[in-house]
Amino acid sequence: MAEIPGDTRRDRIVDDLRGHLGASLVDSLVKPGDDVWVRVEASAWRRAGEILRHEMGFDYFCFLSAIDWLPSPYGKGEDDPTEPPPERDDTIRQGYAGGQTRLQLLARVVSSTDHIGVNVKCDVADADPSVESWIPVYAGANWHERETHEMFGIGFTGHPDLRNMYLPTEFEGHPLRKDFPLLARMVKPWPGIVDVEPLPGGGDDEEGEGE
């Protein structure tokens, strides 16, 4: 197996970060030739940003958002609405670099000299989802944190202006959480996958036996 040249550089990034953060860096994943994934503790969120920016040269802030890993309690789009929903495994799996909580914060920073991206994740507690704001480190995080706050209900301490950005001010709930119902779909159920037409000219214009 030929070693991919970017591999050791990315390993070194994780080692560097672990050297600075110690046990606060909980998990990591290096994808050869691709992004680096690290997971830090929520208490070390701002510290991780500071180190990445000031010590390790990750000067470009790409985005900040969150993930709700809860499987949708409302089924899937391809489900037949006339049938009872199929049995599904509804355990929560947190993807790259693991995790414990349902909600995870996710930010990506890039080094403009090395062209390596680092995805930083952190678990946020369900009861009090709140971390320190990244604005003092990356000023561009301002609007990203506002959006994450209104869409996922994650608080950012030290953020100067956590008003809603897209939603009306009096809106209640956090729409991008999986248990927030999509009202349009609740009012009128999706007819299911009936809008996929057979290819024209195939000869079998009738609904076939599947194959």
């Binding site: 899937k76 789009g77 897209y166 939603l167 729409p175 999509l182 779909r185 999706w190 809008d195």
Partner: protein, 173 residues
């Protein structure tokens, strides 16, 4: 006495008059400061964007963009759709670069499913990318022009006296 002298005089007079009129314009521009609400519907914006601008004469001293007037929350809509259905949403994010948004989504979906598109499909994507880039650049050129014209015409509504001479040249352009 001589014609040259009177010419100089006349020039000087004209200069003084110009200075005086400039001064008058400057005095007119020194306003109390006003708050101007631009949008959400405005011909200069492609889509809807509201900007609350505080003006001091011609200068914008403070502005706050207020967005979300066209926010549909397509992340939420994708939760209940299949991948082929989502492509129809993705290409509406930016109607000038629809294909440029669609392909990254398709690539991500293919990566998740472990699929690699056949070479012919990849070539077709490249061609469509280039065509969409050309369409995007040329339509943006046109829209800049219309945006310039429409902004200048609205500013003349805000300050009819001072700006009328300038906007007339801008809108002829």
């Amino acid at each position: 006495m001589t014609s040259t002298e009177s010419l100089l005089d006349r020039r000087q007079m004209a200069y003084i008059a110009a200075q005086a009129s400039d001064a008058r314009v400057n005095v007119e521009l020194e306003t109390e400061g006003m708050t101007l609400n631009i949008g959400p519907q405005h011909p200069a914006t492609h889509g809807t964007l509201r900007i609350i601008a505080r003006l001091d004469g011609e200068q914008v001293v403070w502005a706050e963009p207020s967005c979300g007037y066209m926010h549909r929350g397509y992340e939420k809509l994708t939760e209940v759709r299949t991948y082929p259905q989502v492509t129809a949403l993705i290409n509406r994010i930016d109607w000038l670069g629809s294909f440029a948004n669609e392909v990254p989504f398709i690539l991500a979906a293919e990566k998740l499913m472990g699929i690699e598109a056949p070479p012919r499909a990849q070539w077709i994507r490249t061609i469509l990318f280039e065509l969409s880039r050309i369409a995007n650049v040329s339509s943006r050129r046109c829209s800049w022009r219309s945006a310039i014209v429409s902004t200048s015409s609205t500013s003349s509504k805000a300050r009819p006296v001072v700006a009328s001479t300038r906007t007339s040249t801008a809108s002829v352009d």
